[in-house]
C-alpha cells in the first residue's frame, strides 16, 4: 500500500503530515531543493527567507523533519511522466530516472504564472513577478535599478511591497484591475486578515512614494539589448489597451505577470477530466468533494487543482490526508477535528477567492497588447503574426497550430505561452476561450537526458 504525493508545497506537505500523524507512510516528491513550494520558499541554504518570511513555512519544514520516519521526502526529484496504473517516471537530482507505482497518487503540483506577451518582453531585464520574488527570497537578490512592476492580483502588491521594503527603487505599480468595488471588498472581508494584509501592502507602497496606476498595463517594453523604458496604457473594461493616454517610463527592470493558473500537465497525462473555471484560474482538474479526480486512486489538492491560495492549500491537504488515512483504517481523532475545522473554513475561503477573482482575474483584452512581430512562444521564436497566419489558413486546434508553427513545442512545452495562444485562437476564430481545447501534453514534461531514459523499462519508453 503506497501513497505517493507530487509536490511538497503547502498542499502536498500537509497531506504527507496528516498521513504521518495517522501512522501512514508516504513518498513526497518535490522538484524544489526544499519543501514549502513557491509561497514558503526558504533561502537556498535552508535558512528562512530574508524577504517575505512566513513562520508557517518553517513550521511545515520542521514537521516534515520530525516525521521523517514516515515521510520519504525526496527533494529535487522531478516527475516527468504519469502512466495508467498510477505509474510515475521520476528524475533524481543526479539525473537518474526511475519508475514509481502508487496505490494512491496525490497531485499537489501548484500553479504557473500567466504571462501576457507584449512587444519587448523578451528583452533581458523582464521577469515574472514570481521570478523576482524567488530571487529575493531564495537568494536575497533584488533589482539594482529603476523597477516597474505590472500585471494583476495579490502577487503584484506583495512583490512590490517586499521589494520597496528592501530598498529597491520601485517607481510604478501598473495594475490591470480597477480599484475593487464595494461588493468585492465585502467579499474579500470574508477573510479579514487577508484583506487587511492587502490594505497594508498598498499603504507600504504609498509610504514609499510608489505611483499606482489602476486599470493600466505595461503594453510595450523598449530597449536595445536591455530594458530602457516601459510604455503603459490605460485599459478598457475587458482590459483592452487604449491607443491614447499612453506614457513612457524609464526602467531598468520590469516584473510582470497576470495571476496564476493551475499546472495541469500531470493530471492531463493521468487522463483526468478537466473543467474550464475562470474562478480557479482557467483549466483545472475536475474533482469531487473529497478531492478525488475522475481517474481511480488519483487526488488533487492546492493551487494545482484550482487557484485557491495558501490557506486553502493547507486546509485541503489536511482534509485529504485525514481522509486517505481513514480509508486505510488509520484515523487519528485529533486530526479528525482539525480536518473538520479545515472543511468548515473552505466556504469562506472560496467566497474570498470569488471576490478576489472578480477584482483581479485575467480579462482577455490585455492580450491585444501584442502586435504581429511580438514573440509569443519564446522557446521556438514564434511571433503573433505566425500564429495569425496559421489561424487564417483555417488551423484552429492547438495541436494543428503547434505542428504548423511549433508554438508550444519547445523546451517549456507551452507552459509560458499557452494562455496567450488560447486567447488568440479564441479571438481569431470567435470560439469562447472555454471551448478552445486544452493543449496536448507530451512525455516527458521536462527534457530528460538520454542517459537517464536509458535506465527505464523499454515498454514505458515506447509510449
Amino acid at each position: 500500500m503506497s501513497v505517493v504525493i507530487v509536490g511538497a508545497g503547502p498542499a502536498g506537505a500537509s497531506v504527507a503530515l496528516a498521513l504521518a500523524r495517522s501512522g501512514v507512510a508516504s513518498i513526497l516528491l518535490d522538484d524544489n531543493p526544499q519543501a514549502g513550494g513557491q509561497v514558503f520558499r526558504p533561502r537556498s541554504d535552508g535558512r528562512p527567507p530574508r524577504l517575505g518570511h512566513d513562520a508557517r513555512g518553517e513550521a511545515l519544514r520542521g514537521a516534515l523533519r520530525q516525521h521523517a520516519a514516515l515521510i520519504d521526502h525526496r527533494s529535487g526529484h522531478e516527475v516527468v511522466a504519469v502512466y495508467p496504473g498510477r505509474k510515475l517516471w521520476v528524475v533524481s537530482p543526479e539525473g537518474r530516472a526511475y519508475e514509481l507505482a502508487a496505490e494512491h497518487l496525490v497531485l499537489a503540483v501548484g500553479a504557473v504564472e500567466i504571462n501576457v506577451p507584449v512587444p519587448g518582453w523578451t528583452l533581458p531585464g523582464v521577469y515574472t513577478l514570481g521570478g523576482l520574488q524567488i530571487l529575493a527570497k531564495a537568494s536575497a537578490t533584488v533589482p539594482a535599478g529603476k523597477t516597474i512592476l505590472g500585471g494583476a492580483g495579490p502577487l503584484l502588491y506583495l512583490v512590490a511591497a517586499q521589494l520597496v521594503s528592501a530598498g529597491v527603487e520601485v517607481t510604478d505599480v501598473v495594475d490591470a484591475a480597477a480599484f475593487p468595488t464595494p461588493g468585492q471588498i465585502a467579499g474579500m472581508a470574508r477573510m479579514p486578515s487577508l484583506l487587511l494584509r492587502g490594505v497594508g501592502l498598498e499603504l507600504t507602497l504609498r509610504r514609499h512614494g510608489v505611483a499606482i496606476h489602476r486599470r493600466s498595463a505595461v503594453v510595450e517594453i523598449v530597449g536595445d539589448g536591455a530594458v530602457s523604458e516601459a510604455v503603459i496604457a490605460p485599459l478598457g473594461d475587458d482590459w483592452t489597451p487604449h491607443a491614447g493616454g499612453r506614457s513612457r517610463l524609464r526602467a531598468d527592470v520590469v516584473g510582470m505577470s497576470f495571476g496564476l493558473r493551475p499546472n495541469t500537465e500531470l493530471a492531463q497525462l493521468a487522463g483526468c477530466e478537466h473543467a474550464y473555471d475562470l474562478s480557479a484560474g482557467g483549466w483545472r482538474v475536475d474533482r469531487d468533494a473529497r478531492f478525488a479526480t475522475s481517474a481511480a486512486g488519483i487526488y488533487a489538492v492546492g493551487d494545482g487543482a484550482g487557484i485557491g491560495g495558501v490557506d486553502t492549500a493547507l486546509a485541503e491537504g489536511t482534509i485529504l490526508g485525514h481522509e486517505l488515512a481513514r480509508q486505510l483504517g488509520k484515523a487519528n481523532a485529533t486530526l479528525a477535528g482539525e480536518a473538520r475545522e479545515a472543511l468548515r473554513r473552505l466556504p469562506r475561503q472560496a467566497a474570498f477567492r470569488r471576490a478576489l477573482v472578480g477584482w483581479s482575474g485575467l480579462r482577455p483584452g490585455v492580450f491585444r497588447a501584442a502586435d504581429a512581430a511580438t514573440m509569443v512562444c519564446r522557446c521556438e521564436d514564434v511571433r503573433l503574426g505566425d500564429l495569425d497566419q496559421a489561424l487564417e489558413a483555417g488551423i484552429a486546434l492547438p495541436r494543428g497550430l503547434k505542428l504548423r508553427t511549433r508554438a508550444g513545442m519547445g523546451l517549456c512545452q507551452g507552459r509560458t505561452c499557452w494562455p496567450a495562444i488560447q486567447h488568440r485562437i479564441a479571438e481569431k476564430t470567435g470560439l469562447p476561450a472555454a471551448e478552445v481545447p486544452m493543449p496536448t501534453v507530451r512525455v516527458p514534461v521536462r527534457p530528460v537526458p538520454v542517459s537517464a531514459l536509458a535506465t527505464l523499462a523499454p515498454t514505458a519508453a515506447a509510449e
Partner: protein, 103 residues
C-alpha cells in the same frame, strides 16, 4: 559593461568557489542558485534564441520557462535556476538551446 541589473542584499557568509563562465574565472557563493549568482555578477543574457538569434535571459526562475538555460559542464539546456553553484563548474552562455530530441 552595463551596470548589473541586480544586487545581493547579503554580505554572503557562504564560501566562494571558482566557476568558469565562458572561460572567465568567477568567484561565486557556493550553494547559491546559479542563475541568481550570475545575475548578481552583472550577467543578464544566458542563451541565444533558436530562430530569431536574440540574446535572452531568465524569466520565471522556478524551473518552468527554460529561458535561463545554458551549457553546464558540457550538458546542454541546463536550467541554471535549478542548479546550485559548485566548485569547478563550467558554464557556457549564449549558445542556442537546441532541443535534445526531434519533436
Amino acid at each position: 559593461m552595463p551596470a548589473p541589473l541586480f544586487r545581493c542584499l547579503d554580505d554572503s557568509s557562504a564560501a566562494r568557489v571558482e566557476v568558469i563562465v565562458d572561460g572567465r574565472s568567477l568567484r561565486l557563493p557556493e550553494g547559491m542558485p546559479l542563475a541568481a549568482a550570475l545575475l548578481d555578477n552583472g550577467i543578464s543574457t544566458f542563451h541565444r534564441s533558436v530562430r530569431a538569434d536574440e540574446l535572452r535571459g531568465p524569466l520565471c526562475l522556478m524551473g518552468s520557462c527554460f529561458q535561463c538555460v545554458a551549457v553546464v559542464d558540457g550538458v546542454r539546456n541546463q536550467r541554471t535556476c535549478r542548479l546550485t553553484v559548485r566548485a569547478g563548474m563550467a558554464v557556457e552562455l549564449r549558445t542556442p538551446p537546441l532541443p535534445e530530441e526531434a519533436a
